[in-house]
């Protein structure tokens, strides 16, 4: 007899006792269902976070920040020009490692729309690459172009929330605001682009749900500083964007003041760049470091801001969620396994005579062992597959009862692991009953009533 005929006998047993087998499987079914649901939920959360992080610029986004100069450089610190446009130009010299460079200068300003409100804002002057580095998405119109930069054009790209603040009473499409003129510190700028509304998955769905029911266009309901919960602040810097060409900002608002350095040596408020290939992340940072050593005249007064810490925190938090979910599923599977072992023992007691007959006609101890083990394995596997179905139903119910922040994602690996665990539970819980059965004395078994 081989493993396969053992499986067939196992299947036959299960078919003979459908209800009993189902009850036996219940623990495994619930265990697998919760395991699958846990995997799907955490995978969904991870996907949501990845999405959020992507919108914030992704892992590829690296900021160059200022750093307290260490003691050995203290007397040299004055030599370094600090974070200047020269750094940005130098970074452009590494196109194989750095794909995009976005220097930023910021000024506080007063924005005013002749046909709307007057609000205060931080105006950012930057390069067209900012679109990619900050992962902006243009909802209407266009972003800055090289030509804007060259000409020092008076054009502005507005974030969604800023549009809502400037024209709170207008509920039209984004495109309607293109071509309008606003003043920034009394100088006229033409609106050439409106950015998309950035929000978390959860907020988007809640907004869409209310949009269907409520009369007010939801973009304005949610837009602005007061609209969102504290957690939405993650995106507020993007939604509040007021973006103009760097050259325009410098010439209109910075130059002319006494002791103004030339544009190339002007201090930047931010300098972000995008790593071309994440596989070469460290290599890129080293290359940028060497480059900046030149522009900073050897003074070590800069640091890199990366998303790695954030990413690690996210991973840790996901792992602990998975651990607690896995624990619950594990307990359920354990209980399921005990249930299988229990039923198998009872079933053996019921079938002592059958096993005696099998032994009498030539079954070896290992044949009986395999038969019982195959049966419990089949129970575990079928329980696993039914559990997958139950898991899908569970996720659906969860989604209906409490809308999830991030839609659950069922990954193939989660299916494999869940069914794998169920099968392992079937095998493990069959070991002892199978051993008991294989120890039967054929004479006693044949006499058994």
């Amino acid at each position: 007899m081989n493993w396969f005929s053992g499986l067939l006998i196992g299947l036959q047993e299960i078919r003979e006792h459908k209800f009993r087998s189902f009850l036996t499987m219940l623990g495994v079914i619930l265990g697998v269902a919760s395991l699958l649901a846990m995997f799907a939920l955490t995978a969904g959360i991870a996907a949501g976070w990845r999405n959020t992080m992507q919108q914030l610029g992704g892992l590829e986004r690296v900021g160059v920040s200022d750093k307290q100069v260490s003691l050995e450089f203290a007397d040299l610190a004055a030599l370094s020009p600090g974070r200047t446009l020269a750094d940005a130009e130098a970074l452009r010299g590494l196109p194989h490692l750095v794909s995009h460079v976005a220097p930023e200068m910021q000024i506080p300003a007063t924005l005013s729309a002749p046909d709307g409100q007057t609000v205060s804002a931080r105006v950012t002057g930057t390069w067209p690459d900012n679109l990619t580095v900050s992962q902006h998405e243009v909802a209407a119109g266009r972003f800055l172009t090289d030509l804007d930069l060259e000409r020092g054009a008076r054009v502005v790209v507005l974030g969604d929330a800023k549009v809502a603040q400037l024209w709170p009473d207008e509920h039209g499409t984004d495109a309607e605001f293109l071509g309008r003129t606003i003043t920034i510190n009394d100088r006229p700028f033409s609106v050439v682009g409106v950015l998309a509304l950035y929000e978390r998955e959860e907020d988007r769905r809640r907004r869409e749900a209310t949009a269907k029911g409520g009369p007010a266009p939801a973009r304005f309901a949610m837009g602005g500083r007061s609209g969102g919960s504290g957690r939405r602040d993650m995106f507020s810097w993007k939604n509040e964007s007021v973006i103009v060409p760097l050259s325009t900002l410098y010439h209109e608002f910075r130059s002319g003041l006494p002791e103004t350095p030339p544009l190339a040596m002007a201090k930047l408020d931010n300098l972000n760049f995008r790593v071309r290939d994440l596989q070469r992340f460290d290599e890129t940072l080293t290359a940028v470091q060497n480059l900046l050593r030149g522009t900073r005249r050897g003074v070590d007064d800069y640091d890199f801001d990366t998303r790695e810490d954030w990413f690690e925190r996210m991973e840790t938090s996901l792992r602990s969620t998975q651990l607690s979910g896995g624990l619950i599923a594990g307990i359920s599977l354990l209980v399921g396994g005990i249930g299988i072992a229990n039923i198998m023992l009872a079933s053996i007691a019921q079938r002592v005579r059958e096993l005696g007959v099998r032994l009498a006609v030539g079954a070896r101890r290992r044949d009986v062992f395999l038969q019982i083990l195959a049966e419990s394995t089949v129970i575990g596997m079928i329980g696993g597959f039914l559990g997958l179905g139950a898991g899908v139903v569970l996720l659906d119910l969860l989604g209906r009862v409490a809308p999830l922040e991030s839609p659950p994602v069922i990954e193939p690996s989660a299916i494999l692991i869940s069914v794998g665990f169920a099968t392992a539970v079937g095998v493990l819980s069959g070991l002892y009953p199978a051993w008991r059965a294989s120890r039967l004395d054929p004479i006693a078994a044949l006499r058994y009533e």
């Binding site: 005929s5 006609v361 030539g362 004479i443």
Partner: protein
């Protein structure tokens, strides 16, 4: 008393003891039994309950090993055989017919007959054919898809005989095969055994019923773990 078994013996027991229990009060179920059964013999083993005939049957049937002495079945000394070797002997060399039929209730007739072949590792197709042949010998070809619960006692016992035959064993061991049957069906099964004997098989029939034992060509009578009479009929 023979000291060495001749290879031709179907069953050969030499001074066999079987003692149950190791405590202060052990019971000798077999107390120095020597018995030789040649191929083609039809032997009845009789005796009252407790005479040791069941223990003798277990040894001949390779379900157990002796405490001392030598048991040879189909040319193999099983006195010290392990469970796998005993299983193989039961599978290849012995066909059992029990009082209670001992068919598997959830298998149909065909599968019940095939059962020994499954453990012999015979491929499916050949199993089917050999089960058909065995069923034909007991005249049950039209009941192959029935379950035991759908058959009469006599039919069940004929299925059991077919199962005992299917692997072409050297020895057929029938333990009170008529015990659960009415007279007519009992006679039917005995006729079947006699037929098998005529076609050259070795048959050992264990019974307490003198009328049943009389069907055999040789009667071995047991009492208190010893053979007290060994007579050809």
């Amino acid at each position: 008393m023979r000291k060495t078994p001749e290879p031709s013996a179907a069953v050969d027991l030499v001074d066999v003891h079987k003692i149950y229990g190791t405590g202060p009060d052990p019971v000798a179920a077999l107390d120095g039994v020597s018995l030789r059964i040649d191929p083609g013999e039809f032997v009845a083993i009789t005796g009252t309950s407790g005479s040791g005939k069941s223990t003798l049957m277990h040894l001949v049937g390779c379900l157990d090993t002796p405490t001392s002495g030598r048991v040879t079945v189909a040319g193999e000394d099983i006195s010290t055989a392990g469970s796998d070797r005993l299983a193989r002997l039961r599978n290849r060399s012995i066909g059992f017919v029990f009082q209670a039929f001992n068919l598997l209730p959830r298998l149909d007739v065909q599968s019940n007959i095939e059962l020994p072949l499954v453990y012999a590792g015979v491929p499916r197709r050949e199993r089917h054919q050999r089960a058909l042949d065995a069923a034909a010998k007991v005249n049950l070809t039209d009941r192959l898809t029935h379950r035991p619960s759908q058959l009469s006692g006599g039919q069940c016992q004929r299925v059991a005989v077919a199962r005992a035959l299917v692997n072409d064993p050297a020895l057929i061991l029938a333990d009170e095969p008529t015990g659960n049957l009415d007279t007519a069906n009992g006679a039917d099964v005995l006729r079947l055994l006699a037929e098998l004997h005529r076609s050259g098989r070795t048959i050992v029939l264990v019974t307490h019923d003198p009328a049943v034992a009389a069907r055999a060509a040789r009667i071995v009578e047991m009492r208190d773990g010893r053979i007290v009479k060994d007579t050809p009929t």
